[in-house]
């Protein structure tokens, strides 16, 4: 993480960095499409989808959006609030599991 030449005249980086990341994004997109095309199922499918998704998102944020060259004060200001999203996901997983079980009981005539 070098921060020496940035921000003086804006974010200037060699074109080759962008080109390589661009190619990587194409390859990753092709990989995630292949997951569907070759009918991977179950945990293998979900793991692969998540891996390719996070790699793509990470490359876009870090390089294309210049996050890896930004000052840490900005990186933390934008990164830390996102933790709330993961808390929300965890909450709703429990909630929807409960709803599913309740519906199962109700629709089968019980409850």
């Amino acid at each position: 993480m070098s921060n020496t030449n940035s921000h003086v005249e804006g974010q200037q980086h060699p074109l080759s960095v962008y080109i390589w990341i661009w190619i990587a994004l194409f390859v990753l997109s092709a990989c995630s499409y292949a997951v569907d095309y070759y009918h991977f199922e179950g945990y293998l499918r979900w793991t692969l989808i998540l891996i390719f998704m996070f790699l793509k998102a990470g490359l876009i944020i870090a390089v294309f959006m210049h996050m890896m060259w930004e000052r840490l004060a900005l990186v933390y200001a934008l990164g830390i609030p996102v933790i709330a999203v993961f808390v929300f996901i965890a909450l709703m997983v429990f909630e929807s599991d409960y709803t599913f079980l309740t519906r199962g009981t109700f629709f089968s005539g019980g409850g």
Binding site: N3, E9, Y18, S29, V35, D36, M53, A77, P81, S96
Partner: protein, 241 residues
């Protein structure tokens, strides 16, 4: 010698006092985000709030899909497209994904040539990006039409399975498509400004009365990459899952 505050600004992220720098930045007077143009900082904060909007959409999708007792429609088959022969699963969505990735690449080139003050190339790449964005919206319109007219998908019901499918699909892709459309409009506006040399001459902005600067192209780029970023998550969770 440089004054202490400037010395702190010069420090790099990977130096030993990285955390001390964060504290120094945040506790300093007037500006927390040193050397970040205000437009860019504000765009980032807008994007953070937009992140929450799309997160809430995707979380509600997760909740609805996990809690329904009906079977969720198979996106792979719903979005298959046939070119005369066997239907190819998700082919249109795959093409749309590649279009957005390509447009992200051309956007990055526009930002880069903007900082090199290469006016013509910046305009060309901005217009190419806008064209890709417009074609993305066009394909989405095609997809919506096919789903509504041929498959009979409605926000309240559909013939393939769980009724929530339509509501989630139209809400999430509709919101994303709106973002792409707004992005295309702003790409044209920025391209026009670059073309007229408003960033070279530091002309005052119509609404902001601020001096024009090639940093605007980077701010525009942030928005455009964000639209691509959101699509990465929609593609993974809605279409592939």
């Amino acid at each position: 010698m440089t004054p202490p505050e400037n010395a702190a600004i010069q420090e790099t992220n990977n130096s030993e006092g990285a955390w001390q720098n964060v504290v120094a930045d945040w506790s300093s007077d007037q500006r927390a985000f040193k050397k970040v143009p205000w437009g860019k900082a504000m765009m980032w904060i807008f994007l953070l709030s937009d992140t929450f909007i799309f997160s809430i959409f995707l979380i509600s999708y997760m909740t609805v899909r996990m809690s329904t007792t009906a079977e969720w429609p198979h996106a792979s088959e719903v979005f298959a497209l046939s070119f005369g022969g066997e239907p190819i699963p998700l082919i249109l969505i795959a093409i749309m994904t590649f279009i957005l990735i390509t447009s992200s690449g051309t956007m990055v080139l526009a930002v880069n040539y903007g900082y090199r003050k290469d006016r013509i190339k910046t305009v060309i790449f901005l217009l190419i990006t806008a064209a890709f964005g417009a074609s993305f919206v066009g394909m989405q319109a095609f997809e919506w039409t096919k789903l509504i007219v041929e498959e009979g998908v409605r926000p309240w019901s559909n013939p393939m399975g769980a009724h929530q499918f339509g509501a989630i699909f139209f809400m999430i892709t509709g919101f994303h498509g709106t973002h792409v459309s707004i992005g295309v409009i702003f790409l044209f506006i920025v391209a026009r400004k670059v073309w007229r040399g408003e960033y070279d001459n530091e002309s005052l902005g119509y609404f902001t009365s601020r001096k024009g600067n090639y940093e605007h192209v980077e701010t525009m780029g942030l928005y455009w990459h964000f639209v691509d970023l959101v699509w990465v998550f929609i593609f993974a969770f809605f279409y592939l899952w």
